[in-house]
């Protein structure tokens, strides 16, 4: 009987995706394109936040959007109505976007013509957290009606993001959502996360979110 050998590997399970994501990140850096991966559960307000962001930043930055949905054009049509080009990825069942899918979207875009790309990931608090898309920064949205206990149920998503946008704060009076408790828990899980409280409907807090994004983009572009 042949001897069994033990081979030490210690390699990321998703190393293929990771390698492509790293390549994408480098290519975007070379082209001065800041890509943001925006994630959340369905209905939290990704499209709304993107639209509010576009309205405030489009005179300063050339913006493009990569839309990910299982099968729909609804979101990309809304973005196009703002005068911004959107590439719609229809995953046909995949519950998240990954580096190969982002690569196919980027292949259709002239990167020289963009400063900011926003990925609107598939509505899902679980899977997108595991797959690097090559973005420079990751942000997530949690809306007030979803509840403040989501950190306990979906800790990975909260731990991998650079920013958390608490949306629908105009609903705070109607719920027992505890903002302080949420922020406390999130910061213990993810020390460096930047937290914003907004309402896409009333506009409250959106400027602070855009200021952060603006600073990140300038910092990114000045690095070279």
């Amino acid at each position: 009987m042949d001897d069994i050998r033990l081979i030490d590997i210690r390699e990321e399970i998703l190393s293929d995706n990771q390698n492509l994501a790293d390549e994408i990140r480098e290519r975007l850096r070379d082209n001065g394109v800041f890509m943001l991966n925006l994630m959340s559960a369905p209905g939290s307000g990704k499209t709304s936040l993107i639209i509010e962001t576009i309205r405030r930043l489009k005179d300063e930055f050339r913006i493009g959007v990569i839309e990910g949905d299982i099968d729909s054009l609804v979101d990309s049509e809304k973005i196009a109505a703002e005068g911004i080009s959107a590439v719609q990825l229809r995953t046909g069942g995949a519950c998240h976007l990954d580096a190969p899918m982002i690569e196919t979207a980027l292949a259709t875009m002239d990167l020289e013509n963009f400063d900011l790309l926003i990925i609107e990931n598939v509505g899902n608090l679980v899977c997108p957290a595991e797959f690097d898309t090559g973005a420079a920064k990751k942000a997530m949205i949690l809306s007030v009606p979803e509840g403040d206990d989501k950190v306990l149920k979906y800790p990975l998503m909260f731990s991998v993001c650079d920013a958390l946008v608490i949306n629908k704060i105009d609903y705070l009076g109607l719920s027992d959502f505890n903002q302080d408790l949420l922020k406390e828990r999130v910061q213990m899980l993810n020390r460096g996360i930047n937290i914003f409280a907004v309402s896409c409907r009333t506009g409250e807090g959106i400027d602070e979110w855009c200021d952060w994004l603006r600073r990140e983009i300038y910092s990114f572009k000045n690095r070279d």
Binding site: I4, D16, A94, D98, V126, K153, M188, N190
Partner: protein, 116 residues
Amino acid sequence: MHELAVTEGMLKVVLRHAELNRAKKVVGITLQIGEMSDIVDEWLRRYFDYLSRGTIAEGAEITIRRTPAVFLCEDCGEEYVVNIKAGDRFSCPECGTNKVEMVSGREFLVQDLKVI
């Protein structure tokens, strides 16, 4: 939920290293997966049984080592395990502070292979 994509990724890593090491057959795979990951072990094994057919990894036994979420207290230096989904408190059990940081629990590795 995304066990299929994960299993595909895992199989690529396994077969690449098996080939590099001139293995004839992979008989065992050890994964190290942190508590933060939502992978359901049973589904990973089922997808693996299906995807590995016809490859040298067919029939390999998969061992999944779950590593817990470990936090470090910045005040008193205590390191402690938190069962996040069970609703354990994040704050330091020793001195009660919230000045703590999660230091492990996000692992997602192919740790080793047993090959012939």
